[in-house]
């Protein structure tokens, strides 16, 4: 069992659009040290950070990542291709992105989009999480552990220790983590998958994943 506290895991959120500030705010509330970065000068997002994410620190992406243990990717997937994989080497990377062919264009994706992310980031541990609940719901539906109306959120990855760390993060920000054994299995979390966009309890979530497996078998 891990005894790590949130303070042991410094988080860098890359992306200050719809999704990034919501994840950053939830992580600050859960006790994590949080830095947030957009594509440019941190001054450009200083006001956003001060008002929407009090407690987080706006930084240049490279600086935020260098000091972080966990890096959350909350940028359009087509912009991910501009991120230098070397920057993320050795980091635990949360892929909160989704593949939208209409806006991302055709990307070289076979299997799960997170597998493409992981192939590009071969020096990092990649975990798929926080992508399947809409950004405007992510905060409203968060509940403390044990609440009767608490919902589930999926955590998928190939490295069990990395999955465990992110499951703890998901738990602390307000969701029952449902662990999926591989990035490939994380396909159920993608657009078109059985839990995408749905805000389900843990039994409903597990049922939806099981039904999906049966229908594919």
């Amino acid at each position: 069992m891990t005894t790590a506290t949130p303070a042991d895991h410094r988080i860098a959120v890359l992306g200050a659009g719809h999704v990034g500030p919501v994840i950053a705010r939830l992580a600050v509330k859960a006790g994590y040290p949080v830095a947030i970065a957009a594509s440019g000068d941190p001054d450009d997002i200083a006001l956003i950070t001060e008002l929407l994410i009090p407690g987080a620190r706006p930084r240049w992406a490279a600086d935020a990542v260098a000091d972080a243990d966990i890096v959350v990717l909350a940028i359009p997937l087509n912009r991910f291709l501009d991120v230098d994989p070397g920057l993320l080497r050795g980091k635990l990377v949360v892929d909160a992105m989704n593949y939208w062919p209409a806006s991302d264009g055709v990307l070289p994706i076979r299997g799960a989009s997170s597998e493409m992310v992981a192939r590009r980031l071969e020096g990092s541990d990649v975990v798929k999480a926080l992508n399947h609940i809409g950004y405007h719901e992510l905060e409203d539906r968060a509940r403390p552990s044990g609440a009767s109306d608490r919902r589930a959120a999926g955590v998928a990855g190939d490295d069990p220790a990395a999955v465990e760390t992110i499951a703890a993060l998901v738990d602390r920000i307000g969701y029952d983590p449902v662990r999926l054994a591989s990035l490939r299995a994380g396909r159920v979390l993608q657009p078109g998958g059985p839990v995408f966009g749905a805000v389900l309890t843990r039994p409903e979530f597990e049922q939806a994943v099981a039904d999906n497996e049966r229908s594919l078998a």
Partner: protein, 342 residues
């Protein structure tokens, strides 16, 4: 505090009483009737949003607004929204300054980056560029609105060198807003370029947008700009009772959102989610005049906003249902909301 109240439509394709869809042409003629009737009912603003689909056959709303302008005297008329990223800011300015001329200074425009995306492939734009397209074009539009010759150079259209763009504005810039769906960087942009902030709230608790209007005010201050207004745009439907409004709206909402959900991957609405959205903490203004007025007043206060635009209608509703909704909105919802806010 002066509050204004508008109605927006996306040219939602009407149905006949038996549910059969009306033609695009008849729907467009009906929208013109609805705009004229909105003025008679006491509505302050009538907006038409650009769309390019069979459910929303409304790519040239400015033409319809011109027809409404010719038959009205006081109602303000504008886009809600113009997808500026896939348009030419010079052409948008020309169309709306023409509308402004025709209507005696009643034109407005709400500029959108592109939450509705059909126009990108249609006009040969790459959706992946929508941020760059919008940033550049919104900045050029702000220049054009100032009046006088424009010199401009960028990547998204040919340069302009001391270009006189006509028709000239008769009495200064017309009101222009940027539509924002939840990206805080878009809020900052509206403040930086000097546009009003139009918050499109279509799901979840509206109160969470209060931070955006605070962000907007502080950003205006930071950029040394005078205060600019905040408007709230949300979907809804008004009928005599809550039950009737919900019964008319729900099947149409379910159908449209289900189609969008399949295309864009969000959740298919359930009766539970619909009840939540039509309840006091949701984003849909569906109900009796009293219910809708209460919700408008509460949220304008919570969001420190001075204008509310109800996006009325939904594909599959009848023209008669829409005319009733407009009448109730103008004659009952607006006066009641004003009373609650005073």
């Amino acid at each position: 505090m002066t509050y204004t109240f508008g109605l927006d439509t996306f040219g939602d394709r009407n149905a006949a009483a038996d549910g059969a869809p009306l033609s695009h042409a008849q729907t467009i003629r009906n929208v013109a009737e609805e705009g004229v009737f909105a003025e008679q009912a006491g509505v302050d603003f009538f907006g038409i949003g650009e769309h390019h689909t069979g459910y929303f056959p409304m790519p040239a709303g400015d033409v319809v607004l011109a027809a409404i302008a010719a038959r009205t005297q006081t109602i303000r008329l504008g886009s809600a929204v113009t997808v500026l990223s896939s348009d030419d800011p010079v052409r948008v300015f020309q169309r709306y300054s023409t509308l402004n001329a025709l209507s005696g200074g009643r034109a407005e425009v709400i500029l959108g980056r592109g939450s509705s995306i059909e126009s990108f492939p249609l006009f040969g734009y790459d959706l992946a560029d929508y941020e760059e397209l919008f940033e550049e074009k919104a900045a050029l539009f702000a220049e054009l609105l100032r009046g006088g010759p424009v010199t401009w150079d960028g990547k998204t259209r040919p340069p302009l060198l001391n270009q006189d763009v006509v028709p000239h504005l008769e009495s200064g810039p017309f009101p222009a807003w940027i539509g924002v769906g939840g990206n805080p960087q878009s809020v900052i942009r509206a403040a930086r370029l000097g546009f009003g902030l139009a918050l499109a709230i279509i799901g979840g608790p509206p109160a969470r947008f209060a931070a955006y209007s605070q962000l907007f005010r502080q950003a205006l201050e930071k950029f040394g700009r005078p205060p600019l207004p905040v408007l709230v745009h949300s979907p809804g439907h008004v009928a005599a009772t809550d039950e009737q409004a919900k019964a008319e709206f729900w099947p149409r909402w379910r159908e449209i959102i289900s189609v969008m959900a399949a295309e864009r991957g969000f959740a298919i609405p359930t009766e539970e989610s619909f009840d939540r959205e039509t309840g006091p903490d949701g984003a849909l203004y569906v109900g009796s005049p009293e219910t809708v007025a209460q919700k408008i007043a509460t949220n304008l206060r919570a969001l420190d906003a001075t204008r509310f635009d109800l996006k009325y209608g939904m594909p599959g509703l009848t023209h008669d249902q829409l005319m009733t909704a407009i009448e109730l909105y103008g004659q009952q919802v607006i006066p009641r909301a004003r009373e609650l806010l005073s």
